[in-house]
């Protein structure tokens, strides 16, 4: 009746997961109860859970990401602590079978449920606004994508309470991940969670490529799009190209585990090297899916806070597309040492070095944008400059690793681990923190506290160098990755410095929460009245903060690059706003519970598959299909915002902008 699920699945004998589970369950129940008492549930359901508005969905993605950042970082702290303690005679406090789950969970959560949702959330919120349109191409599908991602996150976290997680590392290499060597449910949690959220991600890819290619404001040709939209396009093309390979590969591993197939097993003709090859065909584009939007964020931030148009717009576009395409030609550099031989290694090694060139072009473009500009050292600009320093270093170690002879020595050592944390923290984490700060006022109508923001930046920046530069040295000294115990006591000082670094980053994360709460508390002091708090250059700053549901009363006419900047300058010079438009009714998509209900059934089916509760799996699948058909049967797809309402909101915006205009002069 319950498949393989028994009471033994709950970790009564392991204090850490047990206590964590209890605390989390109580906290969630407490928050849910408090929200219920305040009468927020109807509001949350109607305005957020069932919302098809890209702005709301974007915020929900980021909330998910921040929650998962806490979980993923908790794993990181536990690993740092273990490595600081378990030196020489000491065994630390985490036995290997737990330590292995922790580093697996850390990687899985940080990539799939922190970085991806954060980046996708920012793309969701910003892109339609920057394109001057009302929403993405498929708003309901957008909602479904979010909830499927959340479903995956739920399952991964559920493994802490019920059962166990994989012990294989975040990519679950066979033969270790095969049933013979991982008989428990851990790998199944991993596989099922990623397959469910993977569907959501592919749908996001379809949504954004379609939106950017087919849905833009009048006059916005390709070469007039903001660079963030170009990088979003490239990243989503990569999603469409890479995620199906992940789906296929994980499915094959599932077939091996569930039905006794022989794709990657040790016997029956299986070939585990094939898994490595296929998983990295996905894995390398994945890091560019994360990095390219981050580069786009920096382009927006650097040009805004330098007060200059981005230097070399065309070369930025070409560099982005070049990175997009070449990223599909380098994947073997993740397994130089597996034995494909010199010719194969050479080709992929050279390609891996070539891909650094367009990135270098981008760095120079950002530098030249700053040069001659009047740079304002706001929090996002801190992250942009920090990125340029940090990512270049990480990229250089990447070029080192791109050389097979070097890689043969440092593959899977701490040097490698330091490299990828260097580039991922330098590019992606700094990027999403910059984006979060930069676009926060647009989403909520007030800015975050600037002083706390700078302290948070320095915590991340200093913390990163303390935590990861010793790792480069350790790598050269022979330290491999994923060590539960350190046998060489001379490594202790390095590991202790790393621990301090982790604590400094912890301070940054705690302060991020503090900053949010404090900023909400004191928001009256930092209201974004005009909607353009940074003197922005792109169309999202045309709207008030937060924008109305329909974004723009009338889609803006785009004339030239930097659509908003041109319009602003014209208005300042002419001392009047654009002519008042003729207002019309606006049709917006209806809210729908399809996404959350589908995700509910997906979670149910996923849980059932993991625990071999076959009748429940079938029920779940039927439920999911039924929801789709029920959704497809509706006759009403849109609701109408009457022209009078549109006019009222737009006139208020024009009034505020008119007041702002009186205070502005043409910049010299």
């Amino acid at each position: 009746m319950f498949g393989e699920l028994t009471w033994e699945a709950i970790p009564f004998d392991q204090p850490i997961p047990l206590i964590t589970s209890l605390v989390v369950v109580l906290a969630l129940a407490g928050i849910a109860f408090w929200a219920w008492r305040k009468g927020w549930w109807p509001y949350l359901w109607n305005e957020w859970v069932t919302s098809t508005d890209h702005k709301r969905i974007g915020v929900m993605y980021i909330v998910l990401a921040l929650m998962m950042l806490v979980r993923g970082f908790a794993d990181a702290l536990m690993m740092r602590l273990q490595q600081s303690l378990a030196i020489g005679a000491s065994q630390g406090y985490l036995p290997p079978e737990h330590y292995d789950q922790i580093f697996t969970a850390h990687g899985t959560i940080m990539i799939f449920f922190m970085a991806m949702p954060f980046v996708i959330g920012l793309m969701n919120f910003v892109v339609p606004l920057q394109l001057g349109v009302r929403d993405v191409a498929f708003p309901t599908m957008n909602n479904v994508s979010f909830w499927l991602t959340a479903s995956g996150a739920l399952l991964v976290n559920l493994s802490l309470f019920i059962g166990e997680f994989a012990r294989t590392g975040w990519l679950a290499f066979p033969p270790l991940s095969e049933k013979a060597f991982s008989p428990g449910v851990g790998v199944d949690y991993y596989l099922v969670a990623l397959q469910i959220s993977g569907v959501g991600t592919v749908l996001t890819g379809v949504n954004f490529v379609t939106t950017i290619l087919k849905i833009r404001a009048p006059g916005m040709s390709y070469m007039r799009m903001p660079v963030f939209c170009w990088t979003t396009l490239a990243a989503n093309l990569l999603i469409l190209a890479a995620f199906p390979v992940l789906t296929a590969t994980l499915a094959m591993l599932m077939l091996d585990r569930y039905l006794g197939f022989h794709f990657f097993t040790n016997g029956g003709g299986g070939n585990s090297m094939l898994y490595m090859n296929l998983i990295w065909v996905w894995g390398h584009p994945e890091v560019y899916i994360l990095a390219l939007p981050a580069f786009g964020i920096y382009s927006e931030v650097v040009s805004t806070f330098s007060g200059k148009p981005l230097f070399g717009y065309r070369s930025m576009v070409y560099a982005t597309l070049a990175i997009c395409i070449i990223s599909f030609m380098v994947w073997l550099h993740h397994f130089f040492t597996m034995g494909a031989g010199a010719d194969v290694n050479a080709l992929f090694g050279i390609a891996s070095m070539i891909i650094a060139v367009p990135t270098g072009v981008k760095i120079f473009n950002w530098l030249f944008t700053m040069y001659g500009g009047r740079v304002r050292f706001t929090v996002p600009m801190h992250y942009a400059i920090g990125f340029m320093l940090t990512f270049v270093l990480g990229g250089l170690t990447g070029v080192l690793l791109a050389m097979p002879p070097v890689d043969f020595i440092v593959h899977n050592s701490m040097f490698l681990v330091a490299h990828f944390h260097n580039v991922i923290i330098g590019a992606v984490v700094f990027g999403v923190m910059a984006g979060y700060t930069y676009w926060f006022p647009k989403a909520f109508g007030f800015t975050l506290d600037e002083r706390l923001g700078k302290i948070i930046f320095w915590c991340w920046f200093i913390g990163f160098y303390l935590a990861w530069f010793p790792a480069y040295a350790l790598g050269f000294m022979g330290a491999t990755r994923r060590l539960q115990h350190i046998s060489d006591p001379s490594w202790a000082p390095y590991l202790h410095v790393e621990m301090v670094g982790a604590l400094v980053i912890l301070a940054g994360i705690v302060l991020t929460v503090v900053q949010l709460l404090y900023s909400i508390r004191t928001r009256e002091q930092r209201l974004d009245v005009t909607g353009d708090p940074w003197d922005g250059r792109t169309l999202e700053w045309l709207t008030l903060s937060p924008p109305p549901h329909f974004n723009f009363a009338v889609l803006p006419d785009v004339h030239g690059e930097e659509a908003y900047w041109t319009r602003k300058l014209t208005a300042i010079r002419d001392e009047k706003l654009v002519e008042e438009p003729k207002y019309e009714d606006i049709e917006m998509p209806l809210n729908t519970p399809t996404g959350v209900i589908c995700a509910f059934f997906a979670s149910l089916t996923g849980f059932a598959v993991i625990w071999h509760i076959w009748w429940l799996a079938i029920v779940g699948l039927i439920g999911a299909f039924a929801v789709l058909v029920w959704y497809a049967w509706r006759d009403e797809h849109e609701h109408i915002i009457p022209a009078a309402k549109v006019a009222e909101l737009e006139r208020e915006r024009r009034r505020i902008r008119g007041e702002l205009l009186k205070t502005l002069t043409v910049p010299t």
């Binding site: 029956g268 090297m273 094939l274 296929l278």
Partner: protein, 129 residues
């Protein structure tokens, strides 16, 4: 948005946009060509009158031709300016398919040559496990 679409600048893939006769003709021609090509494929695969090593290559070419027939006659993918996005997406997809398949085959081939089982291991390898 204009209330009448002048000459369509974008066409959906697969969307019919001609008279009844010409649309039906498109499908009939497509079916005919596809049947012929399929027939030739089956014949090529079973005949001994062709040079051996060329047969596989010929079959691949015939397959690509059949796919082309489907794309043009059933999915109405053309090279006109109204189809640019559709063709670009297809080209991108084809490039990825090519990279994944050729890349994997090349890599796995080299791995097999370098990392294959030794004669001692081969005995173990053929046993069920």
């Amino acid at each position: 948005m204009t209330d009448r679409e002048p000459e369509q600048l974008n066409v959906a893939p697969g969307a019919p946009h001609d008279s009844l006769l010409s649309e039906t003709l498109s499908y009939v021609i497509g079916l005919g060509l596809a049947l012929v090509l399929t027939g030739i494929s089956f014949w090529v695969a079973s005949t001994s009158s062709l040079w051996g090593p060329g047969v596989a290559a010929g079959l691949v070419v015939l397959a690509i031709a059949q796919m082309g027939v489907h794309l043009v006659f059933f999915l109405h993918i053309t090279s006109g300016p109204d189809n640019t996005n559709n063709v670009l997406a297809l080209a991108f997809g084809v490039m990825i398919v090519f990279l994944v398949m050729i890349g994997t085959i090349w890599i796995m081939g080299h791995l097999a040559a370098n990392m294959g089982p030794t004669p001692e291991m081969l005995n173990l390898h053929t046993q069920r496990g």
